[in-house]
């Protein structure tokens, strides 16, 4: 009754509402809607400032049949996620939008997973005739015999750009999707009701929040964790909260401890994209084998930047600055570039030795210093050191990776989405965060290494018996930037007298008959004679494989050179100390009794 009596009012309100809404719509978008999609779907806001729906419509990205009157026909050929790499050429990458990007991205490591694939096929049980170097080819191929690829499919293949995005809770539901994988924000609404007016369209951005990176980059080298001061813990889930293992959780039932974050984050509040450039992340079109080849920045890019007077691609700089939309003004001073000529438009020279970085996400200025050249960073005897060798505070180190394949069980294959025979479980030996091993990186510089990975493979047949012929182990140490930069550095003794950073492993070094030997502390056993943290013997025999052909542990001569400084360090422990101008001469003078050191013995 009441409702009926109010009916005219309701109708009136609806008509008014419709008119107002229409008027609003027209005021915003002009008289002609760009396509017919908006008749049914209207987002609460544009995906981004550079993707205004009112101008571009929907079909330009989502394809479909925008002028069909009914739902069924309108949706023919439509894509829900235009960022999909297989379609990106027609959507994001169409001629008038981002034509070069789909090709670059498809060739980049995040799409090919070539780095992981090549490492695994080199180090794990694998037959060459199955070799495959990109994840897309592997996806389209039937499951083969290779243990390396079986493991990749089930344990690694969940993080690549070709992976379709599906509405699942947690990290898993946020991974994949091509361009969308990184460029999307508002991840918490994976499944909006599109039939509702004012539905929530996910935002697109080039100011990529670090969470988008960390949803994948939190395993293996764990860079996305370390940078933010998180160390995947030994799984205790302590302290307990609310009667259960605590809330400091990571995906996959893992937990973390809070350790010092990278100084760039701790002091500067910087995100991943404040260092990593578009070419470093999306590639430049070249198919690289390894991450360090594609990444086009290093510490020097900002801390020892090379000024260029000519911008090779002023249009790109302009576009990036505009898309970023947070920089205080167009850079007027000379521009700095990364190694592959990505414009570092967000760093500027300030007065003197000072520099300023304007954070890409919010434009907040972060002042910093250029590399000092006061006899420390340019010390000739440390010229091979990477910045990371000293300025790394800690490194996540996971010793012993015990992989067991149960032939009689099934597990989901990330690439096909279906279960297949063989289930993997992963166990660990022990974790550490202090004092990474040092060694020679593939670029010839001395830098931190961590296990990557020390795999012990066992295969259990359907009857529960070990298949001895399938048992194998592959001990590998990998060099990488741990992303835990600190201003403070270790003392001289911390490296020159400690066998762990030298690569020999925890223990006590002894020098007898001019030959270095060690009494190790770390665990031995498991069928190996040397501890898991021993990358090299005290006389320079490599005990583990390095993850790159050109990287290696210190050799005998290098170890001897590192250690021989040791005794002098009790007194000569400053960079500027004259004995290090020519240490060989100083040592000769000492050995012939011509130095005042002898006085010390009295």
């Amino acid at each position: 009754m009441k409702i009926r009596s109010l009916l005219p009012v309701w109708i009136l309100l609806l008509v008014f509402g419709f008119l107002i809404g229409r008027a609003q719509y027209h005021r915003k978008s002009g008289p002609i809607p760009p396509d017919g999609c908006v008749q049914c779907h209207q987002a609460d806001k544009d995906p981004s400032a550079s993707h205004p729906v009112a101008v571009m419509g929907c079909a330009v990205c989502h394809i479909g049949n925008p002028f069909a009157g009914d739902k069924k026909r309108a949706h023919i050929g439509m894509v829900r996620n235009p960022g999909r790499l297989d379609l990106a050429g027609k959507t994001c990458g169409q001629t008038s939008c981002h034509p070069d990007l789909p090709k670059r991205v498809t060739h980049s490591l995040m799409a090919t997973n070539r780095g992981i694939l090549s490492a695994m096929q080199r180090l794990w049980p694998h037959a060459d005739d199955e070799t495959v170097m990109d994840v897309k080819t592997l996806t389209n191929r039937p499951v083969g015999e290779s243990m390396a690829l079986d493991h990749f499919r089930k344990m690694c293949g969940g993080c690549h750009l070709h992976r379709p995005r599906y509405p699942r809770l947690g990290e898993i539901g946020q991974r994949g999707g091509g361009c969308t994988d990184c460029h999307i924000v508002e991840l918490e609404t994976p499944n909006p009701d599109l039939s509702r007016k004012k539905f929530h369209h996910p935002g697109l951005t080039t100011r990529i929040p670090s969470e988008n990176c960390v949803k994948c980059h939190n395993r293996s080298a764990r860079i996305g964790l370390s940078y933010f001061g998180r160390f995947e813990s030994e799984g205790y889930g302590t302290p307990f909260k609310g009667g259960a293992p605590g809330p400091r959780r990571l995906s996959g039932g893992r937990f973390y401890l809070e350790l010092p974050a990278d100084v760039h984050h701790q002091k500067g509040g910087m995100d991943c994209i404040d260092c990593h450039t578009e070419k470093g992340v999306m590639g430049n079109g070249t198919v690289y084998d390894h991450q360090e080849q594609q990444v086009d920045i290093d510490c020097h890019a900002c801390h020892d930047p090379q000024q260029q007077t000519i911008d090779p691609d002023p249009g790109l700089t302009k576009r990036l600055v505009r898309a970023n939309n947070r920089q205080p003004s167009s850079p007027s001073t000379a521009i700095f570039f990364s190694a592959q000529q990505s414009p570092l438009y967000h760093i500027r020279s300030d007065t003197g030795n000072r520099m300023i970085l304007y954070r890409k996400r919010d434009g907040h200025p972060v002042p910093f210093d250029r590399l000092s050249t006061s006899g420390i960073h340019d010390a000739p005897y440390h010229r091979r050191l990477s910045c990371q060798a000293c300025h790394t505070r800690w490194t996540p180190q996971c010793y012993g990776c015990h992989e067991t394949r149960f032939d009689g069980a099934m597990q989901r294959d990330w690439l096909t989405g279906r279960k297949s025979t063989g289930r993997w479980t992963e166990g660990r030996g022990y974790l550490r965060f202090r004092k990474p091993t040092l060694g020679i990186w593939s670029n010839g510089r001395i830098g931190p290494f961590a296990p990557g990975c020390q795999v012990f493979i066992n295969v259990v047949d359907p009857q529960g018996r070990i298949r001895p012929e399938a048992t194998s182990r592959h001990l590998v140490m990998a060099g990488f930037d741990p992303h835990t930069t600190a201003v403070a550095v270790p003392s001289c003794e911390d490296c020159h007298l400690d066998p762990k950073p030298m690569g020999i492993g925890q223990g006590v070094l002894t020098l007898t008959d001019a030959s270095l030997s060690t009494e190790p502390v770390s665990p031995v056993g498991n069928g190996i004679d040397s501890p898991l943290d021993a990358f090299v013997s005290p006389v320079g025999e490599p005990l583990q494989t390095a993850s790159r052909a050109k990287s290696r542990p210190f050799n005998r001569e290098e170890l001897a050179r590192i250690y021989r400084v040791g005794p002098c360090l009790s007194c000569h422990d400053r960079y500027q100390d004259p004995v290090y101008r020519s240490f060989d001469d100083a040592l000769q003078r000492f050995n012939s009794g011509k130095t005042p050191c002898r006085e010390m013995l009295k």
Binding site: E234, T238, G243, H402, G429, E519
Partner: protein, 533 residues
């Protein structure tokens, strides 16, 4: 009766006589005729070549027919009967033993009760067994308001399982006898009898043979001293982390066999072990079995010193001649590694469903392990206790960190984070009564945390280098990367329980961190000797 409870002795002669005389009708089985079944059982030793009944039957039971195993005393040396059976000859030893920590466990009890606010000071008040001025550990109150209300239950459930008076849990490595037999009768790790008594041949829960062991093997001590308490380190065992993913299920093609309800890293053992010395080669009767004067805690009970065997007063080692070195305990340098278990979170969970704890089922505790089957399926809460189960989790464990402090003799020794408690309690209905509470010392409002001296049994001939401590804030007791968050704050030591012990003072820390001219000079001298060797 399932417990085919068996006796390790009744009188040989008597049984034979009884059988020969045929005083019994064949239907009535007289359980005093032990050897009818247990023929072949070993004699304990020459001095104890007794009839079975002398140790396994109370005097009043010896004169009449007994019709089942009931009156037979399985563990004659257990505290309840030790006076009756062993006391006649070993009165003095037993009196001394009752003052020892193996008997009273008062060190652990009073330290934990003090830190949890259940008693005002760490003076011994309660023991695992009463006597010598100690009262029996009281039961915990029904209502729980603070950690103090839970501490006695914690001690009973988790700590006192290693008491000489407590029958051992039936798990690999943990089998032991009761009372005197806990040490003096040797049990194999699998707890199986391997002697000539066919009635119990191969059965679990029996000593290897029915004999006294002399000398007591190290393995015997390890039935209790196997975890992060001293003992595991002597043979180089460091418990792996508790979570199941750290107990690699298969290693090198062989299924992992856990022992002591844990799994272990094999680190460098003690040189004394490498050379074949047993625990008892250093630890005398006085150390182990008490002196007659009640010992308050372990550091005070052990009297053996390195110098009792090693005279360094006239050796030519430069490092030994450094002025001030006399203040440093030998182990300050010569211990290689230790048990540094940071941050101990404990939770008593009274809820019926405890399946959530399955990944952590191997934490060295039978009460926890018995809740689950080998595949980790929850079996249902234990029925023998009204209270729930205690679960423990560490924050992180390290063997290579050593922090220095001063023990009760003022000597500089390694200290370890023995007590860094955080306590939770969930009642039967799932109410969180205590949520991650740091216990507080009685009335002091200070956290009940303490670092304690540890004498790592990881001795090696070469000491750790000077730089292992000098210049290291962690060793000086200033923590790792000061101000680096709640987890690394655990590396900053809390003062030890007893006022006789202390952390390094500020000036001592300074001395350790600063490279004085004197330090440089001696460091160089040590180097020179090192190189000339």
């Amino acid at each position: 009766m399932k417990t085919a409870i068996v006796i390790w002795g009744l009188i040989w002669g008597m049984v034979w006589t009884a059988a020969a005389q045929g005083t019994e009708t064949p239907e009535v089985k007289d359980y005093r005729r032990c050897l009818a079944c247990h023929a072949g059982v070993e004699t304990l030793d020459r001095n104890h070549a007794f009839a079975c009944e002398k140790c396994h039957l109370k005097p009043e039971d010896r004169t009449q027919i007994i019709r089942n195993h009931g009156p037979i005393i399985r563990h004659p040396a257990a505290p309840a009967t030790v006076d009756l059976f062993c006391g006649k000859c070993h009165r003095r030893d037993i009196d001394h033993l009752q003052t020892s920590l193996h008997w009273t466990l008062t060190g652990i009890i009073s330290q934990t009760r003090y830190l949890w606010g259940a008693q005002p000071d760490p003076r011994p008040r309660y023991g695992a067994l009463p006597g010598h001025g100690l009262k029996r550990l009281p039961p915990s109150p029904e209502t729980v308001r603070t950690p103090a209300d839970l501490v006695d239950d914690l001690l009973r459930q988790r700590c006192l399982s290693c008491h000489v008076g407590t029958p051992s849990p039936s798990h690999k490595g943990l089998f032991h006898g009761v009372g005197c037999a806990a040490c003096h009768v040797f049990y194999a790790d699998d707890g199986r009898y391997r002697g000539k008594d066919h009635a119990i041949s191969g059965k679990r829960g029996y000593p290897v043979t029915h004999t006294f062991c002399r000398p007591i093997p190290t393995r015997q001590c390890r039935h209790c001293h196997n975890g992060s308490a001293i003992g595991g380190d002597y043979t180089g065992r460091f418990p792996r982390d508790d979570h199941q993913s750290y107990h690699a299920p298969i290693r090198n093609g062989v299924s992992t066999q856990s022992i002591y309800l844990a799994d272990h890293h094999r680190l460098t053992p003690d040189v004394h072990h490498q050379r074949g010395l047993l625990c008892v080669d250093c630890h005398s009767k006085d150390d182990v079995m008490g002196t007659g004067t009640p010992a308050a805690h372990q550091e005070a009970a052990v009297s053996i010193r390195c110098r009792h065997c090693h005279d360094i007063s006239n050796d030519s080692i430069v490092a030994h001649a450094i002025p001030g070195m006399e203040k440093v305990h030998c182990l300050g340098c010569h211990s290689r590694w230790s048990f540094m278990d940071y941050g101990q979170s404990l939770i008593r969970d009274d809820r019926p469903d405890l399946s959530r704890w399955a990944p952590w089922r191997l934490q060295g505790d039978a009460g926890v392990a018995d809740l689950f089957d080998r595949q980790g399926q929850f079996q249902g809460a234990s029925t023998n206790s009204k209270a729930g189960t205690w679960f423990r989790g560490w924050r992180f464990r390290r063997w290579e960190y050593l922090t220095l402090g001063k023990d009760a003799q003022g000597r500089i020794v390694p200290f370890r984070p023995r007590y860094q408690y955080r306590v939770s309690f969930i009642d039967r209905k799932g109410n969180v009564i205590l949520d991650d509470v740091v216990p507080q010392k009685d009335g002091s409002q200070k956290p009940g945390w303490a670092f304690m001296p540890i004498y790592p049994h990881t001795v090696q001939r070469f000491g750790r280098p000077c730089e292992a401590c000098h210049g290291q804030p962690l060793a000086a007791g200033m923590g790792l990367w000061k101000g680096a968050g709640p987890d690394l704050a655990l590396t900053c030591p809390s003062p030890p329980v007893y006022p006789t012990m202390s952390l390094l003072s500020e000036s001592e820390q300074g001395t350790l961190l600063e490279k004085t001219t004197r330090y440089r000079k001696w460091r160089f001298k040590v180097w020179r000797q090192h190189r000339q060797d």
